[in-house]
Amino acid sequence: MNGRATLQPWQEIRRMQREVERLFSGLAPAWRWPLTGEYPPINLTRDENGLTLSALCPGANRETLDVTVLENAVTVRCERKPEENVPEAAYHRRERPVGTFARSLNLGERFDPERTEAVYQNGILRVQLGRGSEPAPKKIAIQS
């Protein structure tokens, strides 16, 4: 089954959600990504070489940024720490999410962990996943 086909309904729901958020953008300060209930938000782009995963996680602690590829699944972990030595009472406004976040996605096909590269730049984590070589088809003899 084509992995892309299985993801399409969600994409349509997200698109509608973004449209609604845009309609209300003049009324309230926006931090709309967590409205999906998932952090960090992720985009996937496929091409002939493989798949690119982009995750928005500005200000992530680099030591705790983590990408794991296991068979069809990829897991992204990031941690956003609050400012050190700032008492709660000193804050006038707190809109930025803090804590440890993890997302696991089923990509619908296998990727080769050896051909995976990750770059963190300008607060965006980009993971390039390369396809592994397909195992040769094996003919099964039918026993009578």
């Binding site: 969600w10 300060p29 931090w31 200000g59 700032v86 809109e95 930025r96 965006i124």
Partner: protein, 129 residues
């Protein structure tokens, strides 16, 4: 009866009179906290490079604006859309808007707005009698 008031309970850096740009820009989420010396504003602006960032401090306002480069290809699965950022704040007169500093690191903008010396806490020596 004595009324106790803590200095800085009103927030000079933000609150009223925030202005938001029209659609297709995102107001970045911010944290604002206060120390004895300054106000610190942190804004999440992923995708913005230093040359795409404008921080404009005027006598009574602070405006942050960030431009992003959108990817050429439409994603096959999408949870976020990179948009330009815009947000404006009103500054009170007891801040030194000409000494504002800004640093952008890993998609987080950090703006420091020093307090005017006359509103900084001053330690009063207590005489014993």
């Amino acid at each position: 009866m004595t009324t106790l008031t803590r200095t800085g309970t009103t927030m000079p850096a933000t609150r009223r009179d925030e202005r938001y740009a029209p659609a297709h820009t995102l107001a970045p989420p911010v944290d604002v906290y206060e120390t004895d010396e300054m106000y610190v504003l942190l804004a999440d602006m992923p995708g913005v490079q230093p040359d795409g960032l404008d921080v404009i401090a005027e006598r009574d306002s602070l405006t942050i604006r960030g431009r992003v480069e959108r990817p050429a290809a439409e994603p096959d699965y999408q949870e976020f859309e990179l948009s330009d950022y815009y947000r404006a704040f009103t500054l009170s007169e007891d801040l030194e808007s000409d000494k504002v500093t800004a640093v952008l690191r890993d998609g987080v903008l950090r703006v420091e707005i020093p307090k005017s010396p006359r509103v900084k806490p001053k330690k009063i020596a207590v005489r014993t009698e």
